[in-house]
Amino acid sequence: MVKIFLFARYAEVAGARELDIDLPASMTIGEVWNSVRKKFPAMAEIRETPLVACDRKYSRFSHRVRGGEEIAFFPPVGGG
């Protein structure tokens, strides 16, 4: 299992800020992102690559997680 945090627009679109995703086997962060998007159909419209933090450190889609990690997805925020 990994703990997911969604921020700003992603949280609004999904209607959730925190959720757990089951991890049957080791997955890449890209695969985790896809399963989050599947869980919330409204997120299908998100096409850009989010900023990802795995355990509060910048991470890429290719990075593998094994369970127990905390993954945060930050959308680009433009407002000022």
Binding site: E45, R47, E48
Partner: protein, 392 residues
């Protein structure tokens, strides 16, 4: 125990190492680590000092020496007017564990009579001394830091939600030149958060309204207004006269443009953005950490990128984020503290949480990747309207 001052001095002269002016000159040329400290009072210092010397009056020496010279193996030379107070000061540093301390024989007097170089200090005026008194009493700012602030030039992108509090505090702090780029007019719906503007100035150019407020707060600040839309054509010309860029823009095309210009000009870009109850702040400093494109190589599709007008924002939130941007700007100027480079702070006002994440440079970043040539400015409107096409 010595009974008289003369006996005290005679004793100290045996313990404290001394150096002649010409030897000092020669030693400084060969030893770049050497710290030269002027221990005279302010009035004496104002009359001229040895170039490169740090001014710490004798009465503050023990209090401030660890800040000025953290490593006790650093060679230190002290001087005063005639070479007496500096011997007393050197003795004190020896007691504090400094291992290589010398006193300048004959002090400033002998230095001058030998025709060696003297510099006149750039001093704060009495007005500045009073105005910035609370800065002067913080060691991290002090007189040196305040002089840096007074000489500094900050360009703000946008006089809106983020730019307002940032500009207000930077003007209060004594930043010498504040530039503001904004083409928009003050709208009534801005006033819930854009605190530079007032009800009676609805319909006025934001740059002019901002200038009026900032000059009322601090008439000595130079405010330069650029009442135009920031574009690929004017960005380098506008940015070239400024040291720090503070991004308070409200749209993605401008954010990518500001980023690219900051990479090209290698100037720090203090970045903040807000959405409803959430805000982000970080510092992009080319060569020292990631740039905006390392984090977000492509913008969100235009229909997915709501502005404050569409999404709404808690009025105070850009206040918090804009002020964090102002704090980082001041730290960059006074060269103190741990600047928010390679870290991003995400603030959630509704849940009252700050979350920090460590960032990384993308070695393959199209703009700031190592060894990359600047690819040039692009059509930012098109890039953000249809990212996939423009990025491809």
């Amino acid at each position: 125990m010595p009974k008289t001052f003369q006996e005290l001095m005679a004793g100290l002269k045996r313990q404290v190492a001394e150096i002649e002016p010409d030897q000092l000159k020669e030693r400084r040329q060969r030893d770049g680590n050497l710290v030269l400290i002027d221990v005279r009072e302010l009035d004496e210092y104002k009359g001229g000092f040895i170039p490169g010397a740090v001014h710490i009056p004798r009465g503050f020496l023990e209090l401030r020496i660890e800040e000025a010279v953290p490593d006790r193996d650093t060679p230190v030379v002290l001087y005063c007017a005639g070479g007496v107070r500096s011997v007393l000061a050197a003795d004190s540093l020896n007691h504090l564990g400094y291992r290589d301390v010398q006193s300048l024989i004959g002090g400033m007097g002998k230095w001058r009579t030998q025709g060696l170089q003297v510099e006149k200090p750039e001093m704060l005026s009495d007005w500045e001394r009073q105005r910035y008194a609370r800065h002067l009493s913080i060691p991290e700012v002090g007189e040196e830091g305040q002089k840096k602030l007074l000489r500094s030039r900050v360009i703000l992108i946008g006089a809106g939600g983020l730019g307002s509090p940032a500009a207000y505090y930077l003007a209060a702090a004594g930043v010498g030149t504040i530039g503001i780029v904004d083409f928009d007019l003050v709208d009534e719906s801005n006033l819930q958060r854009q605190i530079l503007h007032t009800t009676e100035r609805v319909g006025v150019q934001k740059t002019e309204s901002a200038k009026t407020t900032l000059l009322a707060l601090n008439p000595r600040v130079q405010v330069r207004t650029f009442t135009e839309r920031l574009s690929s054509e004017n960005v380098t010309d506008i940015f070239k006269d400024f040291d720090v860029i503070l991004d308070g823009s409200d749209n993605f095309p401008t954010r990518y443009l500001v980023n690219d210009a900051s990479v090209l000009l290698r100037k720090p870009n203090v970045h903040g953005s807000v959405f409803r109850f959430e805000g982000q702040v970080t510092v992009f400093w080319p060569g020292r950490g990631p740039c905006y494109r390392c984090l977000y190589p492509e913008p969100p599709p235009a229909d997915m990128a709501p502005s404050c007008a569409e999404a709404g924002v808690l009025g105070i939130l850009p206040g918090v984020i804009g002020m964090l941007e102002a704090v980082e700007t001041v730290k960059i100027i006074i060269e103190r503290g741990d600047i928010l480079i390679g870290r991003l702070i995400a603030y959630d006002a509704l849940r009252a949480t700050f979350r920090e994440l460590k960032l990384q440079r993308d070695p393959d970043c199209a703009y700031c990747g190592k060894g990359r040539k600047f690819p040039g400015f692009i059509d930012y409107e098109q890039f953000c309207a249809n990212p996939a096409v423009a990025a491809g």
